[in-house]
Amino acid sequence: MARMVTTRRVWISTIAAWLFGFLIFFPILWMILTSFKTELDAFATPPFFLFFHWTTENYATVQERSDYFHHALNSIIIAGGSVLIAMLIAVPAAWSMAFSPTKRTKDILLWMLSTKMMPPVGVLVPIYLICRNFGLLDSRTGLIIILCLGNLPIVIWMLFTYFKEIPKDILEAARMDGATIGRELIYVLTPMAIPGLASTLLLNFILAWNEAFWTLNLSTSEAAPLTVFIASYSSPEGLFWAKLSAASTLAIAPILILGWFSQRQLVRGLTFGAVK
């Protein structure tokens, strides 16, 4: 009896969950479908759902007309560069705070967090002028520096919460066995830290890839990553919906896949460990 009820409940919640999941996902699905339509089909009413003339020409045109790969490469260089540099600075910092905490460690961590609370628009003017004076407008270097500093607090925080979970006893045990600091790092700590390092890298790469305040304000063409490239489709001239969809699909596909891998770390990273 009880079992019957349970099965029914599972079915009801399954149907409801799939329905809501589908509704939420629908705009993305619709965009992917549209990217395979001709411009005429994309604009048709009533809309075509599945039975239209499938074509991949939009993907070809996007590259030919607007040099998609140039902007994709910019996205990779800017997001990747900013995260790698941030990791280089953050790993030693988080390491030292997790393993040799002092009385001030907590204050330093909270202060770092508070720099992330600064609304970017509050410092738009000086950053813009500094970049202009140093020739860093529309330059990948400029964006790498700014995105790196912007994400640094999150990188440090995520690493800190991971490092803190590595049991310290294990270090002492290694030391007792006569391991040097170098060996300790390579054979004991690194293997335990790799999952944390990987998910920090992943999540912050995603954040940098999608960053759309500094990239929109500080780059126009040469250094423009995909966020800016897509924004150029907002001009009302002509009907480029299918091409916009193709470009958008290409822009979000890699991140969607990476994001799905990192969804469990997402909560932890974005709430600074406040929700686990």
Binding site: I24, L113, S114, M117, V121, V125, P126, N210, L266
Partner: protein, 290 residues
């Protein structure tokens, strides 16, 4: 001896991060404060002069400021309400045994990973277009007049897009919290004959109080400076209807080139964000001790 060495090492490892973040925080902020006291227009270089608090008086009494403050509050408040009120039932649904749960989870989380310019343009052109958007077709199907979203309800349209982007975040955090809720506690309540509603009010909701607070604070920090969605859909218009504080400052700085007044506005934004940050830092800090 060894500890002293370790301490020095620890400090050396920590200092680059501290120094860089300190510069990143203090230099632009000091410059913003400095510029905010100047008459400084990029169109008229060399004419900079000290004007005291005039920029603040100008910015704060500008009707555009009042309008944009109001838009900012409506935007933040509505998105918070929508994402939390929908996020709670959605998280509870995903917490149930569901067939294909992994896939549903992936579909729900997906919008969070879409870059803001993409989601704004996809909603604007493919869904909300008054002639051939999907919503227009649905409206006609139901025998209704299609809505010209960005002319008739511009702010609401922006709210809709931003809510779609942030609903996954709220849901995911609430779901994570729900999964840590002690099943036995709920079962005990059920055994005692508590109805679903009272279990929800007396057990689930109190358990969610903290994650809800965290969602509110973190979303607020990001929502206060929503920019890209407005930039690519409405450009702040029609009129000032979708101009929020972030967009107002942007347009004063990079469209009207009025550095002084934009800096004053920037400081106002910093103050507003700091009020929120104060509470968030306290909550996170408390957690650090536990």
């Amino acid at each position: 001896m060894a500890t002293r060495q370790t301490q020095i090492l620890a400090r050396t490892l920590l200092s680059p991060a501290v120094v860089l973040l300190f510069i990143w925080m203090i230099v632009p902020l000091a410059l913003t404060i400095y510029f905010s006291t100047l008459h400084y227009s990029l169109l008229d270089p060399g004419s900079e002069s000290f004007v005291g608090l005039d920029n603040f008086r100008y910015f704060l009494t500008d009707p555009a400021f009042i309008a944009s403050l109001q838009n900012t509050l409506v935007l933040v408040g509505s998105v918070l309400a929508i994402t939390i009120l929908l996020g709670i039932p959605l998280a509870m649904l995903l917490d149930q045994p569901v067939i294909g749960q992994g896939i549903v989870r992936l579909m729900v989380i997906a919008p969070f990973f879409v870059m803001p310019t993409v989601s704004a343009l996809v909603w604007k052109n493919l869904l909300m277009h008054p002639v051939s958007g999907l919503f227009a077709w649905l409206a006609k199907l139901a025998g209704l007049q299609p809505i010209d979203w960005f002319n008739d309800a511009p702010l609401f349209s922006v709210i809709l897009i931003v809510s779609w982007q942030w609903l996954p975040f709220a849901t995911l955090i609430l779901l994570t919290a729900l999964q840590s809720l002690d099943e036995e506690q709920k079962e005990a309540a059920e055994m005692d004959g508590a109805r679903a509603l009272s279990t929800f009010i007396y057990i689930t909701l109190p358990h969610l109080a903290r994650p809800i607070t965290v969602v509110i604070l973190i979303e607020t920090i990001f929502l206060l400076t929503v920019f890209a969605e407005i930039f690519v859909t409405t450009g702040g218009g029609p009129g000032l209807q979708t101009t929020n504080i972030a967009f107002l400052i942007y347009s004063q700085a990079l469209i009207q080139f009025d550095v002084g007044s934009a800096s004053a506005g920037g400081l106002v934004a910093v103050v507003i964000a700091n009020v929120v940050a104060f509470f968030l830092v306290r909550i996170v800090g408390k957690n650090l001790e536990a």
